[in-house]
């Protein structure tokens, strides 16, 4: 059963090796179980997440070239399926869709109001190719939306039904920094099945292990062979090597303390002069969860609906209070985003809000780089004799 990460455990040494046919069989097995399989596929010049009918739609032979404000898919010399890092979307596009109807209300002739909760029977998803950073991002959104006093039941219904197939990273992007955030490149807890792609003289294959009983059951039904020492070593070494090839790093300090101590930093003016407050970073970020509500009525005026939709702390209306925004300057809005991600998220939800996926760097039109901003704040704090 694919439930919250806490119920997942590594089911020990029962690893096995799948080849490309095995991966095909995995997709078919999940579809046969009634699941909507979603995974990466090359489309319109990007590697997007979309429903897959077969493993043949995976982006075999495609990689990505990433930099601040820059994304390009590139042909690889090999046929690797998962040699790309974070794309424009994340799994939140499926688990926390951009617009969701929450309830509808009708007003009768006597003025009486009847409210009907929206029924939640979402697709039963299987996500294929969840990067370790994104696996952590899902756990972070779980904590926000399910871990508090009030549960978001619509999210809960989508999430509880989702089967997660993690793929460990052996090809980090130039904007990745999961090592700094402690989220990758090896898969942490929360997956049903974890795969590590190995491509060498001995062939193209996937070292697979189950993290849940359902994962083990699915794996057992696939054409496979027992894991061999060569594949295990190759997989392990590839992930180790990836850890040493991170494109970016965060300053190795207590980021929560750094952000709490630099609310008055000069650097916020510097970044505010560049930031367009477009909100792209919040849309691309796999942990950003903020939403707003919309109340609409039909033409009769007697049928009303409540929708929630993604919102961004960069939007002026976001902090509207008594006739105006609390955070009117760009400086205060960028600061809100960064201090929330790296600092106050700890206070609110018990962890960092950043998993080091690099999406905000790639999809920022002016290449603002969260790691560079954190380093600059750290330098400024040092120069002022603050905590290091």
């Amino acid at each position: 059963m694919a439930t919250a990460p806490t119920t997942t455990r590594d089911l020990g040494s029962a690893d096995c090796v799948l080849d490309r046919e095995g991966l095909d069989a995995l997709v078919q097995a999940l579809r046969a179980r009634g699941r909507t399989v979603v995974g990466p596929t090359a489309r319109d010049g990007a590697i997007v997440l979309a429903e897959l009918e077969s493993a043949a739609e995976l982006p075999y032979g495609w990689g990505v070239e990433l930099e601040g404000g820059h994304y390009r898919v590139v042909r690889r010399e090999d046929e690797a399926a998962f040699a790309h890092s974070a794309g424009p979307q994340s799994w939140k596009n499926f688990l926390l869709p951009e617009r969701v109807r929450q309830w509808t209300a009708d007003r009768g002739p006597d003025g009486e109001m009847t409210v009907r909760a929206e029924r939640h029977d979402p697709a039963s998803y299987a996500f294929l190719g969840v990067r370790p950073c994104d696996l952590r991002a899902i756990a972070i959104q779980d904590q926000v939306l399910l871990g508090g006093r009030h549960r978001d039941d619509a999210y809960g219904a989508r999430r509880t039904g989702a089967f997660l197939i993690a793929v460990e990273c052996v090809e980090p992007g130039a904007t990745c920094f999961c090592v700094s955030m402690g989220t990758g490149p090896a898969a942490g807890p929360g997956y049903d099945i974890a795969l590590t792609e190995v491509l060498d003289d001995a062939g193209h294959r996937f070292l697979a292990r189950a993290g849940t009983p359902e994962g083990a059951e699915v794996l057992a039904g696939l054409p496979q062979r027992p894991a061999d020492a060569v594949t295990r070593t190759a997989a392990h070494e590839a992930v180790e090597a990836a850890a040493g090839r991170m494109g970016r790093t965060m300053p190795s300090v207590d980021l929560r303390a750094l952000l709490a101590d630099t609310l008055d930093a000069e650097r916020w003016n510097d970044v505010a002069a560049r930031c367009l407050t477009c909100g792209n970073c919040t849309m691309a970020c796999p942990t950003c969860f903020c939403t707003t509500t919309e109340d609409v009525t039909d033409l009769t005026g007697d049928h009303a609906e409540r929708w929630s939709r993604w919102d961004s702390c960069y939007d002026l209306d976001f902090s509207h209070l008594h006739g105006g925004p609390v955070r009117s300057s760009g400086r205060s809005r960028y600061r809100q985003w960064l201090t929330h991600k790296l600092g106050t998220w700890h206070d609110q939800f018990g962890s960092s809000g950043c998993v080091g996926c690099g999406r905000c760097i790639v999809w920022c039109p002016v290449a603002i780089d969260i790691t560079e901003e954190a380093h600059a704040l750290h330098q400024e704090a040092l120069s002022k004799g603050g905590p290091s």
Partner: protein, 268 residues
């Protein structure tokens, strides 16, 4: 209770000022869990939207009072409601005025404008249990005498002290003129053994808290009620952040020891 609104019927409306009304609501079918003074409900005006409103009265039959100033789209729609109309209600949400914390202390209730509304049920709770605490002081500030809420109730709240100060007096005004803190000199309380409950505009909260700290009230005994934009009230929408706080969950009532450094940062 918290995700989908329950229908409540407006059974009475009472004008307070030129733009403010107190509405009495009763559940149409199901009743929300009971509210504590300081907590708030999300009140939905059909088809228009939903706003957080603190409870101004908690009635024994499950009914609730809300005092609403009709200044925005939703509050304007709620202000205009007549008896018989139905609203949607979610709640209770947020932290409450911690009256047990104040056991044995002198109580200092300081209100600015419509900030008196969330304090009203606290005052009533304190009046109902006079043995539990020391002296009850109620200090009320308003723009003008015409802007005072609960005018016929205020006189009953002097146990022993009830003061009113207005910024702009009208003809015949015999009370104080000035900001609400000018009343502090008259109020009998022992700062080191006082719990204060403060609600009003943010500038008023800061000025009052500063003055109370100056007089020796402990910062964690100055409880203030804070406000930010709010959409969901269930800690899922991110709107009500004030630094580390989510005010729908960690507030609205917060100790000034936590609030002071946050309110000191511009545009936090």
């Amino acid at each position: 209770m918290t995700a989908v609104p329950l229908p409540y019927r407006v059974v009475d409306t009472r004008p307070e000022t030129a733009d403010t009304v107190t509405i009495r609501l009763e559940p149409v079918h199901e009743t929300l869990p009971s509210f504590a003074p300081g907590q708030f409900a999300m009140v939905y005006a059909f088809g228009v939207g939903e706003i957080p409103v603190s409870v101004a009265g908690i009635l024994p039959d499950g009914g609730l009072l809300h005092t609403i100033r009709g200044v925005g789209a939703v509050s304007g729609a709620l202000y205009a409601l007549r008896p018989g109309a139905t609203v949607g209600m979610r709640g209770p949400f947020g932290t409450s005025w911690d009256l047990p914390l104040a056991a044995g202390d002198d109580l200092l209730v300081v209100a600015g404008g419509i900030g008196l509304a969330p304090l009203r049920p606290l005052v009533l709770a304190a009046l109902a249990a006079p043995q539990a605490h020391g002296r009850l002081n109620v200090l009320v500030g308003a723009r003008s005498p015409e802007d005072l809420l609960y005018r016929d109730e205020l006189d009953g709240w002097a146990r022993p002290y009830r003061g009113v100060a207005v910024d702009r007096p009208s003809a015949g005004w015999k009370g104080r003129v000035g900001v609400v803190t000018t009343l502090l000199d008259e109020a009998p309380f022992t700062p080191a053994e006082t719990t204060a409950f403060v609600c009003g505009p943010e500038v008023m909260i800061r000025a009052t808290a500063r003055e109370l700290l100056h007089r020796g009230v402990r910062p964690d005994r100055v409880l203030v009620s804070l406000e930010r934009n709010m959409r969901c009230a269930t800690a899922h929408c991110g709107h009500c952040q004030l630094g580390p706080l989510l005010l729908c969950r960690d507030g609205p009532v917060v100790g000034y020891d936590r609030a002071e450094p946050l309110l000191a940062v511009r545009e936090l």
